[in-house]
Symmetry: C2
Subunit: 346 residues, 2 copies
């Protein structure tokens, strides 16, 4: 019989609330014969304050044993900026080699967008997750003096670029439009830019059916607001991916519905799924958070584990729920979760 052994990290702020709804929908969608086991972990601000720990080697040993990880949100104003981000989120992505950071954007009919004219938006960003300016390489000399120098080193390898570019070509090939756009800044960041561009062009030869193009990251932000329909699959560097996926989320229904997967395609390590939004401490504990992004992250998780039908059912339930929201009164976090659980079970 089948089983899913899931690590659950509610985390900080609204993390608890949204993860509860994600699990509710997951239980509702899974067939009877699939045994769902969950284990909750207490990572986040509270544990950091109590113990000084963010993510220990022993924690990583435990997490490794799971099939996947579902995360709510990590981050709290009481912790200095960077401590939990580098100490937990990025540490996990690097330790488990989550090199494919997958972030789909789809604007459903009737869903609010800041853009005029309700444009067609349906693309996926494949963001590199283990290299670029995120490696923590760099340092500071003469800290706090008028002569301080601080560096950040973006590290890019042919190995790291090729595997994520290849993943993006596979995804583009599997979609109806079969189009892949490389986003970088190769006219200024020429060392990294040439590596990305050369690897991209070389791998492209193996995918003659996929149409390719290249745009600079600054121009990409323009297209995301003036002509988002031009995008099908985007592959990009870790930092550019961070920036453009927040913008992509904003134009395609908002950060409340943006899901992401931190994926290790080889399955050597468990992959981690999380909403793109953060812990939103200002609305935490009030039942105001939209759990949709977490529920959609559960769908990405199911797809990664091979439960495609169940993932499709979640996507369809969310689409129906979103398109029917217009004009209705706002619902609480658990009301939205309940509605989605009913839909996927039906």
């Amino acid at each position: 019989s089948r089983s899913i052994n899931l690590a659950v990290v509610p985390g900080d702020g609204i993390g608890q609330e949204v993860v509860a709804e994600g699990l509710k929908v997951l239980s509702a969608v899974l067939p009877q014969d699939v045994k769902l086991e969950t284990k909750e972990y207490d990572f986040g601000a509270q544990r950091y304050h109590a113990t000084g720990e963010t993510l220990t080697d022993a924690d990583l040993e435990q997490l490794r044993r799971h099939d996947a990880i579902l995360l709510g949100a990590i981050g709290d104003p009481s912790v200095p900026s960077g401590v939990l981000e580098r100490g937990f989120l990025l540490k996990l992505r690097f330790a488990f080699d989550h090199h494919v950071n997958l972030r789909p954007s789809k604007l459903l009919p009737g869903v609010a967008t800041p853009l005029a004219g309700q444009p067609e938006i349906d693309f996926v960003v494949v963001r590199e997750g283990t290299e670029g300016p995120y490696t923590g390489n760099g340092g500071t000399i003469r800290k706090g003096t008028p002569h301080e120098v601080a560096t950040e080193v973006s590290v890019n390898t042919a190995y790291g670029v090729e595997r994520v570019v290849r993943d993006a070509f596979e995804r583009a090939q599997a979609r109806p439009r079969k189009k892949l756009t490389l986003v970088h800044k190769n006219n200024v960041l020429t060392f990294a830019g040439h590596l990305w561009t050369n690897v991209f062009n070389r791998v492209a030869e193996e995918y003659p059916e996929v149409t390719t193009d290249y745009i600079h990251v600054d121009a990409a932000t323009i297209y995301l607001v003036t002509d988002p329909a031009r995008f099908d699959v985007i592959v990009t560097d870790n930092l550019f991916g961070d920036i453009i996926t927040d913008l992509a989320a904003a134009v395609s229904g908002g950060i409340g519905v943006a899901a992401s997967g931190n994926i290790n395609p080889s399955r050597e390590f468990p992959s981690m799924f999380e909403p793109v939004h953060g812990s939103a401490p200002d609305i935490a504990g009030q039942g105001k958070a939209d759990p949709t992004a977490t529920v959609l992250s559960v769908a990405l998780l199911l797809r990664h584990l091979g439960y495609d039908d169940e993932a499709d059912r979640i996507d369809a339930a969310v689409a129906a729920d979103l398109t029917e929201r217009t004009g209705k009164p706002a619902r609480s976090t658990s009301e939205i979760g309940d509605a989605l659980a009913v839909r996927v079970a039906g």
Copy 2:
């Protein structure tokens, strides 16, 4: 008697056309007693193909003698990506220490924006121009092999950050709302991020009237489309500034009206003024380019040289022209230039 000794670099693509209109408006706005001398330089793709040169030491010696530089656009598909960008544009910014890269964004009533609901947009981005990931620091080993490693080093100094942060505080202080936002990614790029944040907070103490806040660059792209009215003055790093000013241009009337100044506030070297748009080779030579961004760059140039009244007259002429465009047939590059020249002279 007063005089302006201007270096003019039409450059590539639509550069020629838009610069001609910029000069037309400049001549029309200047009082009789101001002597305008211009000297044209042939930098760009053609000279590169003919001589292999982009910007020589002798060129820099000549350019130094001018009061300011007006640039159209540099860049052509016949030149490999990065050659003219690094070899001319960035070389000039670095050689003349253009550390304040000024990019105002203002959405005028009636002007088209991709955003719904015609939001209020009136802010200025102060982008650092001589540091960060733009220094060209970095390199490549094992190029073209499966073991290639390419690095890009972002270099940030207390000296460089403080002077641009100070400039931004001065600008914020002089505006009615007196608000300054630091945009960075200090939760991930912790070395550079802490330097920026610490310098920002320290300088803030000297400007008690200025309200300050901080947002991550990814979140900034969200606010730029959902709540652009929250911004008054933004100060940011070279690369983040590059990215968010293209987005800012897109939402506030388009790249056709986005002006920029590459400013050396000490006036030790001439400052350079250019439209944010590129050379747009696809529409070059057809009289289709909108010269407004260049004309607004001329206004920034005049303001930098102390001709505030003349700069105000250009801004007012452009505002009037833009708000009256709606519903009218498209005009050619020179028709728009003529109309603006008439307005500023009147």
